[in-house]
């Protein structure tokens, strides 16, 4: 019998899962309850994830056998420092973003609140499932739960949303199917689906072409799902047209969790030695990522729509994470892990700000934001902090992930990557300062000075503002305390041999 803090492994999934069924049942009668149920469920998961993380850090890896079946036959949930960390990241961001979703959902989707939160919780369940599971097929199932909910959530957005969602369905299904094929190939040669078991069975088979093909399918599948550069085409539309509550939930988390899958596949299922030495997968990935960083930034530069700009910047930031993974040395991986955390906070903050702008002004064009800073000083302050962090100005979190990535690139003696990271921070500066300039400065001569019609713009309600401020404060604190996170958690989360 397992003590309660081990049972948290499963509670972290079944609480949101059961709550998501409870929402339509209770929401039928009390529409308002949907939000509170969702918030409570995610809050409970947050508590569970914190318990898990502390347990992992003090007592070592947790193995949870679902249904009492022993691995490799039964499904096993494994919590090691890496996914303990990921769980906390996902839960924290989800909690904050959900907190802020109340008003914007009421405004944008007044009739669909109940269904919205049902699917929302399912998405959260899927993400958490991906994080905790130690079984490659179970991971596929959760991947699809998360993706299906995401398709649905994106489709309820405005104008181009259904088409964006359809494209995402097509691309996402290809990605998931490739992942499934990868699982199939591994299953042919090993007869196992358990990650730890696979890791044991695979090394003698490293010469096999089948294993190589499996790895290729895994990589393409996850690359599509996380929007790595040439395969990113679904991402900008989906993030732009989704309702603001959705884009501020999906943008920070979805792609990060997919990056987590990549890490798991490369460094847990396969051994680092395989992806570095036997096949140069890691270095191929890092080169693709380098292209992604630059291309994403340049594409972001061309946008006038704030949310679309942020979406393209996500494409470039995914590049950072993959670059760190591909460097496959200690500093690079630490940079990648840290950037998963940091970027989740930054994008959560920035998309929430974009949502707040939509909520109060309905404007997304960055050239129509003059004088907003007087009306919404706190929101815009958060925007500045988020933007500075994206650029990589020191005390903010974004600087430090860049710092470790640069150290990793130097360690790998790869000067091109150093140049890419540095150049991209300049490009980031270009497009983010364009926003800041438009928000804070009024061009005195012949600018857009007249107030738009409609209700006078003012600061967003507290339920939206508080999460934004917390996220912004989080960015600063993560930057200042990054060393604690690294030495406390991330060093333990590195794959063996680093």
């Amino acid at each position: 019998m397992n003590p309660p803090h081990i049972q948290a492994t499963i509670l972290i999934i079944i609480i949101p899962l059961m709550s998501s069924y409870a929402i339509p049942l209770l929401g039928w009668r009390w529409k308002r309850s949907a939000y509170f149920i969702a918030l409570t469920a995610i809050g409970a998961s947050l508590v569970c994830s914190l318990i898990l993380l502390s347990t992992v850090l003090t007592q070592g890896t947790i193995h949870y056998h679902l249904g009492g079946w022993l691995p490799p036959w039964g499904i096993e949930y494994v919590i090691d420092p890496l996914n303990g960390f990921m769980g906390v990241v996902v839960c924290t961001i989800s909690f904050l973003v959900t907190l802020s979703s109340k008003k914007s959902v009421e405004k944008e989707l007044p009739e669909k609140k109940v269904r919205f939160y049902t699917i929302y919780l399912l998405l959260f369940t899927g993400l958490m499932g991906i994080v905790v599971t130690g079984d490659v097929f179970n991971l596929y199932v959760f991947l699809e739960i998360a993706s299906l909910s995401a398709y649905a959530l994106i489709a309820i957005g405005e104008d181009g949303a259904p088409l964006a969602s359809f494209n995402y369905i097509i691309m996402g299904t290809i990605g998931a199917c490739f992942y499934l094929l990868g699982v199939g190939y591994l299953y042919i040669v090993t007869g196992s689906l358990n990650m730890a078991d696979l890791a044991k069975l695979l090394p003698p088979l490293y010469d096999s072409k089948v294993v190589l093909i499996a790895l290729a399918f895994f990589l393409i599948g996850t690359a599509i799902k996380m929007g790595l550069f040439p395969l990113h085409v679904w991402l900008p539309d989906a993030y732009t047209y989704a309702p603001s509550a959705v884009s501020s939930f999906i943008a920070p988390l979805m792609t990060k969790v997919m990056a987590y899958i990549l890490i798991r596949i490369l460094f847990t299922v396969f051994k680092p030695s395989y992806v570095i030495e036997v096949v140069p997968v890691a270095s191929i990935l890092s080169w693709i990522a380098a292209v992604a960083i630059i291309a994403g930034s340049i594409l972001a530069l061309a946008q006038r729509d704030l949310k679309r700009m942020l979406a393209y910047s996500s494409v470039s930031q995914i590049g950072y994470i993959v670059l760190g993974i591909g460097l496959a040395n200690k500093m690079g991986l630490i940079g990648a892990y840290l950037h998963i955390l940091n970027h989740a906070f930054m994008k959560g903050c920035l998309f929430s700000v974009a949502g707040a702008l939509m909520y109060r002004t309905g404007r997304r064009n960055i050239f129509q934001l003059h004088t907003i800073h007087r009306k919404m000083p706190f929101t815009m302050g958060a925007l500045v902090i988020g933007a500075l962090s994206m650029i990589g100005i020191p005390p903010t979190a974004g600087f430090f992930s860049k710092w470790y990535l640069i150290l990793g690139s130097i360690e790998a003696q790869n000067w091109v990557f150093v140049a890419v990271i540095l150049a991209s921070s300049l490009l980031n500066a270009l497009y983010f300062f364009r926003v800041i300039e438009n928000v804070y400065f009024e061009v005195s001569q012949g600018g857009l000075k007249e107030e738009p019609a409609g209700d006078p713009v003012r600061e967003v309600p507290l339920s939206m503002l508080a999460p934004i401020i917390l996220l912004a404060a989080g960015i600063l604190l993560l930057g200042l305390y990054n060393e604690r996170i690294i030495s406390g958690i991330l060093v333990l989360a590195l794959p063996r041999g680093f």
């Binding site: 130097i410 300049l426 400065f441 200042l480």
Partner: protein
């Protein structure tokens, strides 16, 4: 060297950050807001000053705030050089605060809350740069300084001001990229980033690598120090309000750049490594181009503030030159010149601002006879101009003297020649201003009326001018600039 753990360096940084928060909170009540500014300025100076006795006794104050990255901490250390810069910046901030209030009220500027807020943050970062114990901490504050001064440069919000702001950011963020690279590389080479008097890079890496690293460092920090091919942001930034120009030139920004250059030259590379790598002479010639070139360009400017800007560019290179010539006297002169140039240049900028506030004139050709309208202001201007040219009773002479001495010690007389030429050029571009102001008749022919600016502005002008004189006569007056500079030189080059 005793290391004393003390929280005072952190307090010195936080006091103006706290003030910044209070300024934001009391944006609607100008009097309260400005009271915070003044209070913070005085408090900061007193805190910095309170550290002086222990430093003069040979101690070093240290405070570790938190670890930033494995092996590197956000650490503050007050050594003589840091204290020196801290004293200079916080002392001049008081003057600038008073002057700002007069200037901003006099012109009834907009967005004053943002202005004071950014000012306070910029000062915090400057003190942070001064007290940083390692390169990463320095870089942290250095970037904060860039970001916090950007709204000040673009303050007027006209298209030109915005363009100037963009240019400012472009130059400084690009340079930050070089700095970041060099810091990361240094860390990879040496495994440490802590400043050590005399440098810590010796024996790490091949000479080619180190030369490359040095170039990257100088490209990075040199941008803020406005070395010649990468100086263009500074004259463009003159569009900003005059107190901001004063902040940029005398107190914070370019001084932080020069300070960081000196930190790199003397505390990262160290003189002996530089001479091993044969870099010092190259750097010396490189900045000599700036010294002469900027002076020549200054001659061509009609806008008074732009002329001052080019003068700053030229004078900053004196400081870097002093560090590049690896002799004790040169370093002494270089360190002294940091402070002296600060006092003189701030006087000159304050005067330019005062003229603008009172008469709206910005161009030198319009300033005939202005000395009869504003005799006190223009007298102060004259003192500053004399100092720039290195004429004895004013403090500029003293630092130049040391610099020339240093060039002699280094057996590179050509630099003496360059310094003297530049002095002559200084005379050439400053004296016409003074001459026209006092001895030419005003264009309209109307009888000149005495109309000085308000005492908020006039007092700082006069005090700074007076300080320039007093420091020239007794460089150890009040805050022991001379003695501290001596300690710096001794710690590095064994004076």
């Amino acid at each position: 060297m005793d290391i004393v753990y003390s929280i005072r360096p952190l307090l010195a940084i936080l006091v103006s950050l706290g003030a910044a928060a209070l300024i934001l909170a009391s944006g609607r009540r100008p009097n309260l807001r400005e009271a915070w500014t003044l209070l913070a300025a005085v408090a900061k100076f007193l805190i910095v000053l309170s550290m002086a006795p222990s430093i003069l006794n040979g101690q070093v104050l240290e405070y570790t705030v938190l670890p930033l990255s494995p092996g590197i901490s956000l650490q503050l250390r007050v050594d003589p050089f840091g204290l020196y810069f801290g004293l200079l910046a916080s002392g001049l901030w008081i003057a600038t605060s008073f002057y700002s209030i007069g200037y901003m009220r006099g012109l009834n500027e907009h967005a004053q809350t943002r202005y004071y807020f950014c000012f306070a943050v910029a000062l915090s970062s400057t003190i942070g740069v001064a007290f940083a114990a390692n390169l990463l901490t320095l870089f942290l504050f250095y970037e904060l300084l860039t970001i916090s001064t950007y709204p000040l440069v673009a303050h007027k919000e006209t298209p030109e001001a915005l363009a100037a702001g963009r240019k400012y950011l472009t130059y400084l963020l690009t340079s930050a990229v070089f700095i970041l690279f060099s810091i990361a590389y240094t860390y990879q080479l040496a495994g440490s980033l802590d400043f050590v008097a005399g440098g810590f890079l010796k024996g790490q890496g091949s000479p080619e690598t180190l030369r490359l690293l040095f170039v990257a460092f100088i490209l990075g920090f040199g941008t803020k120090a406005a070395l010649m091919p990468i100086h263009e942001w500074l004259p463009t930034a003159m569009i900003a309000p005059t107190p901001v120009s004063a902040l940029l030139h005398a107190v914070a920004v370019v001084k932080a750049g020069v300070f960081s250059c000196l930190r790199v030259i003397d505390y990262v590379f160290g003189p002996s490594l530089l001479s091993d790598l044969d870099l010092w002479l190259v750097l010396g010639y490189f900045v000599s181009i700036t010294i002469i070139g900027a002076s020549l360009l200054a001659l061509a400017q009609d806008n008074l503030k732009r002329r001052l800007a080019f003068s700053t560019i030229s004078q900053l290179s004196y400081i870097v030159l002093g560090a590049a010539l690896i002799t004790p006297s040169a370093l002494m002169g270089s360190v002294l010149h940091m402070a002296f140039h600060g006092f003189m240049k701030i006087t000159l900028f304050f005067c330019a601002g005062a003229i603008f506030v009172k008469t709206g004139k910005e161009n030198i050709s319009q300033m005939n006879g202005i000395g009869r309208r504003m005799p006190l202001t223009m007298a102060a201007f004259a003192v500053g101009a004399f100092g720039m040219a290195g004429i004895p009773p004013v403090c500029g002479f003293l630092s130049k003297w040391y610099l020339c001495l240093g060039s002699m010690e280094a057996r590179e007389a050509v630099f003496v020649l360059i310094l003297l030429t530049s002095s002559l050029l200084n005379v050439a571009y400053f004296f016409p201003v003074v001459y026209n102001a006092f001895f030419k008749k005003e264009a309209g022919g109307a009888p000149p009326v005495r109309e000085e600016v308000s005492w908020w502005m006039l007092a700082p002008i006069l005090i700074c001018a007076l300080m320039s004189l007093i420091l020239g006569l007794n460089p150890d007056a009040f805050i022991h600039f001379h003695q501290i500079a001596g300690m710096v030189a001794a710690s590095i080059r064994g004076f």
